[in-house]
């Protein structure tokens, strides 16, 4: 449930999320060069399709977020990638909401960018098995980060959400595992096929 729909959050949280997402977007667009645009579009498409597959877990349900994978491959360009995918999901499927675009973009993109960039150097240097482990750990951490931000957004909006937010947190545990596995294998695959994707050339985006 990373896609918070319209009419749930308080205006202050919506505005705050919007400003933070706009900041991330501005930072990303300043560093977006041509090579990265193509990757960004591809990962946006992957995120768009993958996060529509929803698996019921307990009272809620989860779907892939792929934040860390995006953070590892495109760095801050995760912000525009997530935003575009969320706009399309909201318009085409009513998945998430239009007023919550800022909050949702921030919740999904920021942990991915942070942990992706954190793991980036090591993933670039290490051999495949270690790099896969590091990427998996970054993915699990990014999911936990997103869960925390979603819970925070709900709790800041209304005290009624404290209990549901805790339950929501539990549903993210299996997702952390799934996300770690998928990101790990995706990185292992990319390391074999296109190792330069994780090399220093991608680094300036972090600055």
């Amino acid at each position: 449930m990373a896609h918070i729909p319209d009419g749930v959050l308080s205006p202050a949280v919506l505005a705050g999320g919007g400003i933070l997402a706009a900041g991330g977007l501005a930072a990303a667009l300043r560093h977006l060069d041509e090579a990265r645009i193509a990757r960004t579009a591809i990962l946006a498409a992957v995120f768009f399709a993958a996060s529509l597959i929803v698996v019921p877990v307990g009272p809620s349900s989860v779907h892939l977020l792929l934040g860390a994978l995006m953070g590892l491959v495109i760095g801050t360009a995760t912000f525009p990638a997530v935003l575009i995918a969320l706009v399309l999901q909201a318009v085409l499927f009513g998945f998430g909401g239009l007023t919550t675009l800022g909050v949702n973009t921030f919740n999904i993109a920021l942990p991915g960018v942070l942990f992706g960039l954190l793991a980036h150097g090591y993933v670039g240097r290490a051999q495949a098995p270690a790099a896969m482990l590091a990427a998996g750990a970054a993915a699990a951490a990014a999911v936990a980060g997103t869960a925390g931000l979603v819970a925070l957004a709900l709790i800041l909006s209304s005290a009624d959400f404290v209990q549901p937010a805790k339950v929501l947190g539990l549903t993210y545990l299996p997702l952390m595992l799934a996300e770690a596995l998928i990101t790990g294998f995706a990185v292992g695959f990319l390391k074999r096929v296109k190792p330069e994707i994780f090399l220093a050339s991608a680094r300036p985006v972090a600055a």
Binding site: P5, D33, A41, I42, V46, P56, Q89, F95, P164
Partner: protein
């Protein structure tokens, strides 16, 4: 990159049985009552969710919690435009509006017509064949109202599964839309590339630093 595209295609192919977890409300009118239930697209009903039914002015008329089946039922005093809101509490909220004319002619509640249904029962008595004898004691209007009511009930019963199926299909993630969305993203990427290439060509000297 090509293999990446292949992986993307495989992912999309796996989406055929896809489901979203949006909450929706199914509501219909049966015999003057609004009945229905909340459901999650792809399966599941919201348990213990708050149901609020309010009129067009926003006045709250009904508030309750759903059971395990997510269902609710409410009989308004008078036919009016109603909005059903189900709030599952964890950030899932759904609305559905029922137009006042779905209730049909104002019948059943109090007034002269309320007494009417007993009349045929007594008139017909044990004689089951409801022929002209049974109807003889009734005015044309009363008879018409009775027919209208039973037709309304029968139609509501018959089309309910249809409405349910439609509501469910309406919310399902559609394969075509997924493909369309991906096409849109690729298009946006292409437009961005084109703009970036223009930016590179235009200023041959000076302000290159911004893009580095």
């Amino acid at each position: 990159m090509r293999r990446f595209g292949l992986a993307l295609l495989l992912l999309v192919a796996a989406m055929a049985p896809a489901e979203a977890h949006r909450l929706k409300v199914f509501a219909t009118v049966e015999a003057g009552s609004v009945t229905g239930y909340g459901f999650f697209i792809g399966g599941g009903r919201p348990m213990g969710a708050t149901v609020v039914i309010s009129d067009a002015a926003g006045t709250e008329l009904y508030r309750a919690r759903t059971g395990a089946d997510g269902a609710f039922s409410f009989t308004p005093d008078a036919p009016t435009d109603l909005t059903v809101t189900i709030d599952a509490g964890d950030g899932h909220v759904a609305h559905e509006t029922i137009a006042g004319d779905r209730f049909g002619p104002p019948v059943a509640t109090g007034g002269a017509l309320a007494a009417e249904p007993q009349v045929p029962a007594e008139a017909a008595g044990p004689a089951t064949p409801v022929g002209p004898d049974a109807a003889a004691g009734l005015s044309t209007e009363a008879l018409q109202a009775m027919i209208d009511r039973s037709v309304d009930t029968a139609v509501a019963r018959q089309i309910r599964p249809l409405l349910e199926a439609y509501d469910e299909a309406d919310g399902r993630v559609r394969f075509n839309d997924v493909i369309g969305g991906i096409g849109m993203i690729i298009g946006i990427g292409g437009a961005a590339l084109w703009m970036a290439s223009r930016r590179h060509r235009q200023p041959p000297a000076g302000r290159q630093s911004g893009a580095s």
